[in-house]
């Protein structure tokens, strides 16, 4: 089977990035979100990038994408990727609905990084066609996609998804359906350790970030990075992983919860571990 038309459901930051990335490679895209305003925003953003960016492939990018609040238009998609919020019930229900709408051969991709792919596929009659596709933010820039084989996933479909990701110029690794997969399993405890170390006064925030950037060569220091990701997002992820793994390294450091309670979520609210001017917030 060849992938020609791709459905994306959920137009948050991740969904939007996927729509643009996939449309740019020449695929037809059907974008769906329950909220009408999100569709309008996404369309406007695509049109604007079409005007702003150089290169022919950009000019008609918005015309490659169909928009709808309903999943009915996904009937002829060979691949549908869900990128809605990390709510297990909502994801299970959505996949169940998609199964009704799409052809039997269509592959259903889930971008979940908190839940098990096997769990997300649980209510399907044909759970073998669900493949985990964990894209990492910012999705248009990060080269890696973690592909997840659920307990029932058919091997041939993983290969099709793998070829599809490579056509987007991504590199892939196939990982086990375990909480945190590979990247978050390594990344989340490191972030928690940094937050704790800061709270315990190991060094100033600037020195901590500088040491990690210059001494270890990481692209960003942990505190400036969490401000960018959002403290609330990190709390949500680390809590979900702690619930599933029971591993102390994933337990949210108390200072993290405190800062989230205080509304210090990072750049987007103007304050996290650092303070930001209005212009730096996005």
């Amino acid at each position: 089977m060849e992938v020609r038309k791709v459905g994306i459901i959920g137009l948050g930051e991740l969904g939007n990035g996927l729509v643009r990335l996939i449309a740019l490679k020449g695929y037809a895209v059907q974008a769906v979100d329950k909220r009408e305003e999100r569709l309008i925003e996404c369309k406007r953003w695509l049109e604007e990038s079409g005007r702003r960016k150089e290169g022919e492939e950009w000019h008609d990018i918005a015309s490659k994408v169909g928009f709808s609040t309903e999943i009915g238009g996904m009937r002829d998609c060979e691949l549908v990727i869900e990128a809605i919020g990390e709510d297990l019930e909502a994801k299970q229900k959505l996949l169940r609905d998609l199964e009704e709408v799409t052809s039997h051969e269509a592959i259903l991709g889930t971008t979940t990084s908190c839940h098990s792919v096997t769990g997300v596929a649980r209510r399907l009659i044909r759970a073998e066609r669900v493949v985990g596709m964990h894209f990492i933010r910012p999705v248009e820039r990060v080269k890696l996609v973690e592909l997840v084989r659920g307990e029932k996933t058919k091997e041939a479909l993983v290969e099709i998804v793998d070829a599809f990701c490579r056509s987007l110029e991504k590199e892939t690794i196939v990982v086990k359906d375990l909480p945190g997969l590979l990247v978050n399993y390594l990344f989340v405890p490191y972030m928690n350790q940094a937050i704790e170390a800061y709270d315990q006064g190991l060094a100033s925030r600037e020195d901590l970030d500088t040491a990690i950037r210059m001494g270890l060569g990481y692209p960003m220091g942990p505190l400036e990075l969490i401000d960018l990701i959002g403290l609330d997002k990190h709390l949500e992820l680390t809590s979900a992983l702690y619930d599933r793994l029971g591993d102390r390294r994933f337990f949210p450091p108390p200072i993290l919860r405190r800062m989230v309670d205080a509304g210090k979520l990072g750049r987007k609210t103007g304050e996290g571990f650092y303070r930001y001017e209005q212009s730096d917030r996005t």
Partner: protein, 293 residues
Amino acid sequence: MADEKNTIGVLGCGTMGSGIAIVCARAGFKTIVVDTDERQLKRGRELIDRFFAKSVEKGKLTEAKKREIMQSRLTFSVSYEDLKECYFIIEAVYEDLEVKKAVLAKLNGICHVGTIFASNTSTLSITSIAAGSGRPDRVIGMHFCLPAQVMRLVEVTRGLQTSDETYQRTKELGEQLGQVIINTKDTPGFILNHFVVAFNNSCIRAYEEGRGKVEDIDKAVKLGLGYPMGPFELLDYIGLDTHLRVSLALYEQTRDNRFWPPPLVRRMVDAGHLGRKVGRGFYMYPEAGMFGV
């Protein structure tokens, strides 16, 4: 240049000591390198000479300048007595508390009363190293990164007794050396090893659990997180024996499981799969020996 304010002593001429000596000499300081092991001293001297020869090849240094550095600025000796005139000494001897304490006690009887002793330790406590030095207020941590001649970061750590003046003079020296100074508390591993040892152990555990192949984990870390090296490439470069030693040192001081070396590390060390230097670690290196033991 004869001014003693411009003389730095480097004690220990292994990989770290040699790198630190390069940094000092390159910045214009008269540098006295001491190692009681004559072979090690000779090897270090060759390493330093090769580094400056490369700088000449790259056009970063003139041949005349190199000669000046090697012949007048750098002195190599097997005798502690030759460190007498140094106003600042950086020790990079074997990473063992008793060894380092003994070395400082010996230097205390030789050096000026005002001479500062900086330790390049990466895992030991500065306060502990300073105990028994006879001058704990003039002992400080100055952790250069490997390779010191390339990496600009230095972690500066004050022990419980380190004086403000010692700290100020160290900071000034660091800046004169062209390094970027950051301050850390005197806790095990300071910043860099606190994070990198725990992270590397997580990666080894992920591999033990079958979360991914060695190559895939390296790929995930490089492409997914943007780190310059994969953890297994890095471990092979550091050496599994060194990683085991550092992990145990941090675990010993903290009883924090993140530092406990996963069983595979010991098995690899027992099997002699120490990394690049022996031609085999997590990866195979057919050109073994090129990296020197």
